[in-house]
Amino acid sequence: MFRLQSSKVLAVEMTGDAVRAKNGSMVAYDGDMAFRKLTGGGEGVRGMVTRRLTGEQMTVMEVKGRGTCWFADRASDINLVGLRGDTLHVESSNLLATEGGLRTGTGFTGLRGAAQGNGLFTTTVEGHGQVAIMSDGPAVLLRVAPQYPLTVDPGAYVAHQGDLRRSLQSGVTFRTLLGEGGGEAFQMRFEGDGLVYVQPSERNTIGGDV
């Protein structure tokens, strides 16, 4: 059971079940807990190979036990997302914890990742349960509808869920080449029906300086 102790600390009540969390993100616990780094971080040998190949290496530990366990990471803000059979796409660096019943995988996201500076792949979480995602500053939840597509800065993108198509847009014009760019040369465009989480801060991206 996930609960926010404060905006930056996640409390998880456990009764013998397991959760997966970012390696080293435990700050305190009571009761009995066991921490184990997951081999490869994914499901089975295939997940391991995929992760090795894709470079989407999120180091994950499995926490199992009874009691309350508190998680936090570098004072990031934490948002809880409930999944009911749908899929959440999240930047692996923004994933803090997932309930044991959820499956994590690696999704190919096209060339967008290259501009974003952290690879061509993101993490997908699917199943039924809760996910805790992190953002640098409180995240904003933006709705995308068929008639209202959304464009976000790749550095501010955190996660999205729902039936969304995502594409990379380049706003490179002759001005950019002359060094007069507006600083927003690469953008992510979402079309369809779903939700996008955006943080009030921008990661360093390759395209970010243009």
Binding site: K8, G24, A28, W70, A72
Partner: protein, 216 residues
């Protein structure tokens, strides 16, 4: 209550004649009224002997005495500030986390090695606390800094709490702490879960934990 939280990162302190404060040097943001700030060469209280004690211990964060009458705003480095009220018990806290405290509190330095010998010393090293830590005892309030806000977790005899040494901020009450290791063969081959060292706090009191593994 001499401290009032203005927001999560700034506290306002009220100073009146006979009610002095100690604060970290340079942590004053603004003040109203007639207030004087004097570098406190003795490093707080306890005379020369404890001053030397603190020098040796590396717990001699420069403090200043704040006196006069008026209000002072304190904040430092954009860190979150937590006000802790003490009613006769002892707060154990790292000196560089102290933002300000009332002069009714008695300041001291403890050698961690005296709590559990060599293991105590190892504990200090691992938690980055060093071998010495500062204690404040008596009745009064303390403003403590932490990275990313603080949560208070009660410690009861039936319910010991384990804390990541890097996220530990302070504790008070009758709390024993010991470093427990969960080192397994996995850590030896570089497959550790990153939670190999834990501070185990037992007894009765409370522990303050910050939402980050970063030092100040």
């Amino acid at each position: 209550m001499p401290f009032r939280e203005i927001n999560s990162k700034v506290v306002e302190a009220t100073v009146a004649p006979g009610r002095r404060l100690f604060s970290q040097r340079g942590a004053m943001l603004a003040h109203r009224g007639e207030i004087t700030f004097t570098p406190s060469t003795a490093g707080g209280q306890g005379g020369l002997r404890s001053m030397i004690g603190r020098r040796v211990a590396g717990e001699d964060t420069p403090l200043m005495t704040v006196e006069g009458s008026g209000t002072v705003l304190f904040g430092h480095g954009g860190h979150h500030v937590q006000v802790i009220d003490l009613s006769g018990d002892t707060l154990y806290v790292e000196a560089d986390r102290l933002l300000a405290f009332e002069d009714t509190l008695e300041q001291g330095t403890v050698f961690l090695g005296s709590q559990g010998g060599v293991r105590g010393m190892v504990r200090g090293r691992v938690s980055g606390q060093g071998l010495f830590t500062t204690t404040l005892r008596g009745h009064g309030s303390v403003a403590v800094m932490a990275h990313g806000g603080v949560i208070e977790i009660p410690v009861t005899p039936q319910r010991p709490v384990h804390v990541d040494p890097q996220a530990y901020v302070a504790h008070h009450g009758e709390v024993r702490n010991k470093l427990s290791t969960a080192l397994g063969w996995r850590d030896m081959v570089g497959r550790g879960s990153g939670e190999a060292f834990q501070l185990e706090l037992s007894g009765s009191g409370a522990v303050y934990v910050q939402a980050s593994e970063e030092k100040l």
